[in-house]
């Protein structure tokens, strides 16, 4: 059994203008020590997916259907008290903006001790020793001084390293990281990513990495989930997805990267933009932007327009696309 098993997750936001479906039928698993990437553009639902993993969806949002089984227990149906035992302790989270995550009026040490004492019955002295040890693990220079400093005294890269130290504080089984380096510079990003990967490997911690950067996913993860308009449209081993993407959207996303074309030539762009979740197109949500939405005679394909594509297996990947399904069927016959 997988450590984390998400099945048929359906998350909705009840807004005045009507119900917005942020996640539809999202399923995936994470094994112990596995690193999974969730990629997509803004509005794809990847951050909602991250928040849902810890049942952090606040009103007007709610989990309409599906389950999030962590070691067999469904997080979607736990009481607040039971959830508190999991959050931060077994599954911890790293958010995008380190300044927003750290409490500006508490010193780094106080914040670390606070979360240790919330989960374990230990003295402040013991908690400080653990905090110090964790700061050393993330290569913070002069950790003793840092414990008594406040977040505003530290640089962005340093803050994000402290966030990682806090995420590791209680030796969790899974870390969920939502765009952990988007606010940072490239050289700092590279450092933080290398650090995160090394620590996950060393302590056998599972990682769910939410990002819009396919390069980061390629460097960091073993498996990748591509999301579009609230649905998973392709998932499989990262290398296979990067080298041989099947879904037209994943292909388009990869081909749009400047590094995939000869310098100076036109980039391969995907026309249009991500639909709003309040108003997703019928059938396959990608069909208005898809170059394969016409059949051989040039007519729009009815199935793309009307039916939500089911997953088909191509190689080691699961792809939700009518065109890919037809291609596989042709190959088989």
């Amino acid at each position: 059994m997988a450590l984390l098993e998400v099945s048929n997750l359906d998350v909705r936001f009840a807004l005045r203008q009507g119900e917005v479906r942020a996640l539809r039928d999202v399923s995936f698993t994470l094994d112990r020590g596995e690193r999974l990437g969730i990629v997509g553009e803004s509005g794809a639902g990847k951050s909602v997916a991250a928040f849902t993993l810890l049942n952090l969806i606040a009103k007007p949002g709610y989990i309409a259907d599906g389950s999030i089984r962590f070691e067999g227990n469904d997080l979607a149906r736990m009481s607040a008290r039971e959830l508190r035992r999991v959050r931060g302790n077994r599954i911890s989270m790293i958010f995008q903006d380190p300044m927003m995550t750290l409490n500006p009026v508490l010193s780094i040490g106080e914040q670390m001790v606070e979360s240790l004492k919330a989960h374990r019955r230990i003295s402040t002295r013991e908690a400080r020793a653990i905090a110090l040890h964790k700061l050393k693990q993330v290569y913070i220079p002069s950790p003793e001084t840092r414990l008594d400093q406040y977040p505003h005294e530290l640089s962005g890269g340093m803050r994000q390293r402290i966030i990682i130290a806090i995420a590791l504080l209680l030796d969790p089984d899974i870390i969920v990281a939502d765009e952990p380096t988007t606010a940072l510079d490239v050289t700092i990003q590279a450092e933080i990513m290398t650090l995160l990967r090394e620590l996950c490997e060393k302590h056998n911690v599972g990682l769910v990495l939410i990002t819009h950067d396919l390069g980061v996913v390629s460097q960091m993860t073993q498996r990748t989930l591509v999301m579009y308009a609230g649905r998973v449209i392709e998932q499989g081993p990262t290398r296979e997805i990067i080298n041989d993407a099947q879904h037209p959207y994943t292909q388009g996303l990869l081909n749009a990267l400047p590094q995939m074309t000869t310098p100076g030539s036109r980039l391969n762009q995907i026309p249009g933009s991500m639909p709003s979740l309040a108003n997703t197109p019928s059938g396959c949500a990608f069909h208005p932007r898809c170059q394969y939405r016409y059949d051989a005679s040039g007519e729009p394909r009815r199935d793309c327009l009307e039916e939500v594509p089911e997953f088909v297996t191509s190689g080691n990947c699961d792809v939700a696309c009518h065109m890919v399904r037809d291609m596989l069927a042709k190959e088989a016959s």
């Binding site: 490239v186 990003q189 590279a190 762009q269 933009s273």
Partner: protein, 354 residues
């Protein structure tokens, strides 16, 4: 301290770009921002005495750059390296603390008001955040008409409207959008409108400050294509500010790498990516998250960018450089011209150590 660099730049220009005509020249540019503006803010209480301290942020510390007509000069660097300040100084949105900026042979940094007006039409700027750069109380039509009416007060209304329709078509904006307001559009569409506004007055030179950073990957490609098409059709010259090296590799003719307010390497794009010389450029290039599995080993830098309030002595990069030696801590390296005609400011390169 810039004597060497000042001599070096024109030499390179004639070597690598024989016949390339320079459009914009920046010489010995400095920009300092005072940390405390008012007199009272400068007063500090120290050891029982009241002292006046006037600290400054050294944003730009001696930059020499030449932009050739028809090229896309990319300025890259991490946050706080002064790349946006260079853009703003060039556009006259800030005035330099020292140094000269000349446009088409004419010094413009000391011009004010009316004198600058013809240059404002020839140079336009595209900003990073299309959510902030469009006036929320103006319709798109009004936004696009405003620069035309300002620079061509003699034009009739039909003339202005024709021009707006023209420029909308050229960036792929539906003329129907004219009646709507900025907030009704997505980020990519807004950036198209911002580009249309810059192109409306037929400029020859565009300063683009991180024009695609706020956009999604699939939209970035659309906007980058638009900028490249506009360059081909209108023979534009770009000064392109960005932190995204993949975009630079694709878009730039030449690249200037900046670190803490100085240019540490200036080279044509292909040779910079093939053979980066400055240790900082090498680290920067190795840090790009690549799709390929077999990428070069990541050059790890120790420490972080120092604050521009108290600049390090000698080479500004010495605190993080893997090739640091005593000379680097004391002497500021000048841009030297290497055998392939590019420029690099590094003692180690000069001495042939790396």
């Amino acid at each position: 301290m810039n004597a060497v660099a000042t001599q070096a730049s024109p030499a390179t220009a004639s070597q690598t770009h024989a016949g390339a005509e320079s459009l914009l020249e920046i010489r010995g540019l400095y920009k300092h921002f005072p940390l405390a503006d008012g007199f009272l803010e400068q007063l500090h209480f120290e050891k029982g005495r009241l002292v006046r301290r006037n600290e400054q942020v050294h944003a730009i510390n001696g930059v020499d750059l030449t932009v050739h007509r028809g090229e896309a000069l990319c300025v890259v660097g991490e946050s706080g390296c002064g790349k946006s300040t260079v853009a703003r100084l060039v556009m006259g949105l800030l005035s330099p603390s020292a140094g000269e900026i000349s446009y088409d042979g004419q010094r413009i940094d000391n011009m004010r008001g009316k004198q600058l007006l013809p240059y404002r039409q020839r140079m336009q700027m595209i900003f990073q955040n299309p959510y902030a750069s469009l006036n929320p109380r103006m319709t798109i039509q009004q936004t696009l008409e405003e620069p035309l009416r300002f620079h061509h007060p003699d034009w009739t209304t039909p003339q202005v409207q024709d021009k707006v329709a023209d420029v909308m078509a050229s960036v792929g904006i539906d003329p129907e959008w004219g009646k709507r307001f900025g907030h009704e559009f997505s980020g990519g569409q807004r950036q198209r409108i911002a580009i249309a506004r810059a192109l409306a007055v037929d400029p020859e030179f565009i300063v683009a400050d991180e024009p695609i950073s706020a956009l999604d990957v699939s939209i970035q490609a659309q906007v980058l294509n638009l900028l490249m098409d506009a360059q081909a059709e209108r023979h534009l010259t770009y000064l392109f500010i960005t932190h995204d090296l993949a975009v630079v590799e694709h878009f730039g003719t030449r690249v200037a790498v900046m670190y803490l307010g100085t240019v540490c390497e200036l080279a044509d794009t292909r040779s910079l990516f093939a053979r980066p010389k400055h240790p900082y450029t090498q680290a920067l290039l190795s840090a790009i998250p690549r799709l390929e599995d077999d990428r070069p080993e990541h050059v790890r830098l120790s420490g972080e960018v120092p604050t521009p309030v108290h600049l390090p002595s000698g080479c500004v990069f010495h605190g993080r450089c893997p090739h640091v030696m005593e000379r680097c801590r004391q002497e500021v390296p000048q841009l030297i011209v290497t055998d392939d005609g590019n420029q690099v400011a590094c003692h180690a390169v000069e001495e042939g150590r790396i």
